[in-house]
């Protein structure tokens, strides 16, 4: 069984690699878009303009309160009826995960910016920095240490949550695995493999986050 199991994984490697590519593709794209969106969100909330704050809070509460799977169904099944265009499952997953991830990332960025003493902002303004320079040169670099560990945690959650894409029909690594099981009935092997795959993708990130947290935020 052990050798035949390894053999099966070996034979299926090209297929699995394709699925892994799709799963990691969703995760990585979502991580990039979430980060960009989250930084914009964090800075906008930090400006303290009331109406922007209000709009962003509604966005935050909606994406925090309503489960990601519900959003996936809404976008995947709903967009075709509501707006008339359907998007492929892959991009639907990227879109929903990015929107959700940006709200989570954004709260991290906002929290880190809020932890910087107000004097830093004033000192920056006093030498004539414009807002963009103030954030780019003074505030965000200081916030970076504080926000990196929790940001990495959001990224691992994005990788884990990307697994839900299979439920809207994306042929990701899970779907490929299920197809292999249909042919071979090796469910323990394949689900074991999937378990290990996700663990190997997430654990190094969690560990890095913990190390950085200890090194940076306890000194």
């Amino acid at each position: 069984m052990a050798s035949s199991g390894l053999e099966l994984l070996w034979v299926s490697a090209p297929q699995l690699a394709q699925g892994i590519g799709r799963t990691l593709g969703i995760s990585l794209l979502a991580i990039v878009f979430s980060s960009v969106g989250g930084f914009i969100y964090g800075v906008l909330r930090n400006l303290g303009v009331r109406w922007i704050d209000g709009v962003l809070r509604v966005y935050l509460e909606l994406f925090r309160a309503i489960p990601v799977l519900v959003w996936l169904y809404l976008f995947f099944f709903g967009l075709p009826i509501f707006i008339g265009w359907s998007i492929p499952g892959f991009w639907c997953a990227v879109l929903v995960l990015s929107l959700w991830g940006a709200s989570e990332t954004g709260e991290v960025v906002r929290g880190a910016l809020r932890s910087i003493p107000g004097g830093q902002r004033e000192a920056g303004l006093a030498i004539g920095l414009r807002q963009l320079q103030l954030y780019g040169r003074v505030l965000l670099p200081q916030a970076l240490r504080r926000m990196t560990p929790p940001l990495i945690n959001v990224f691992t959650r994005l990788i884990k949550t990307s697994s839900l894409a299979v439920l809207i029909g994306v042929v990701d690594v899970i779907k490929i695995g299920q197809q292999i099981i249909e042919r071979t009935y090796e469910s323990v092997l394949i689900y074991g493999f999937l378990f290990v795959f996700f663990f190997l993708a997430c654990y190094p990130l969690s560990a890095a986050s913990r190390v950085l947290e200890r090194r940076w935020n306890h000194s």
Binding site: Q120, A123, L125, A126, I127, G128, L129, R130
Partner: protein
């Protein structure tokens, strides 16, 4: 001589609380004005209004002959007005030199060679050239404050504002900072100084401005202010400060 800073009936509220009321102030080029007053009298707010960190609600503000409405591009103004804060506010993620050069390079777009040369000569002037590559956390409070002064000076401002710059320092570091300011005063720089160091105020000022309840209560030359204050509030204020100096001895020996 024309006035560098000119406020007319300048007022400012925090919510419904007035913090500055009908302030009239005119500062000549090269003049050293020390602002005294009890805490909460609006003296820090006055300084912060001068470079747009706070905006006034009424009245007129003219800087270098130009009227500045609230919608002014304050960035332009701030480059000509250096400000030093009570708790230094150096950027902790930058070295001393990076702190000093951030404004000249990224705001004023000056050549690095020129700016760095000026930064180094200023550092030499305050005796901290050897700390050029240190990070703020490696410096004492007094050193950090001297760097903050250099950071402001390196923008070649027309005027410097000092907001209680020695209030957060240990007593033994006060001197090194005050000497730098005194040196600036001697070189003819226009200075507005908020401080609680009475002896220093007396030594450095061309004019003392006493504020109370958001208004300028009294303006006079330092000698006459300290020897014969005109208002009762100023008298009370000075008595509190002389209390410690003239404290009666407990034991007569």
């Amino acid at each position: 001589m024309s006035a560098l800073i000119e406020l007319t009936r300048f007022s400012k509220n925090f919510g419904s609380v007035p913090v500055l009321q009908d302030v009239d102030l005119s500062v000549r080029e090269g003049e050293v004005v020390v602002i005294l007053g009890p805490s909460g009298c609006g003296k820090s707010t006055l300084l912060r209004c001068l470079n747009g960190l706070e905006l006034g609600h009424a009245g007129q503000y003219r800087f270098a002959g130009q009227e500045l409405p609230a919608t002014t591009d304050w960035r332009q103004v701030r480059q000509q007005i250096g400000m030093v804060f009570q708790s230094y506010h150096l950027f902790p993620h930058m070295t001393v030199l990076e702190n000093i050069l951030l404004g000249p390079l990224s705001v004023q777009k000056r050549k690095r060679v020129d700016a760095q040369q000026q930064a180094e000569s200023l550092l030499t002037r305050v005796g901290l050239l050897d700390k050029r590559d240190a990070y703020p956390r490696e410096l004492s409070g007094g050193q950090q404050q001297r760097i903050a002064i250099v950071r402001a000076l390196c923008m070649n401002p027309k005027v410097m504002l000092f907001d209680e710059v020695t209030a957060a320092l240990d007593p033994e570091m006060v001197k090194e900072v005050l000497e730098v300011i005194l040196d600036l005063a001697r070189s003819g720089m226009t200075l507005l100084i908020v401080t609680h160091e009475m002896a220093f105020a007396r030594a450095v000022a061309d004019r003392i401005l006493f504020m109370d309840g958001g208004r300028i209560a009294e303006q006079s030359a330092p000698e006459s202010f300290f020897s014969a204050p005109q208002t009762a509030r100023a008298q009370q204020f000075l008595e509190k400060f002389s209390y410690v100096e003239n404290m009666p001895k407990r034991k007569t020996s």
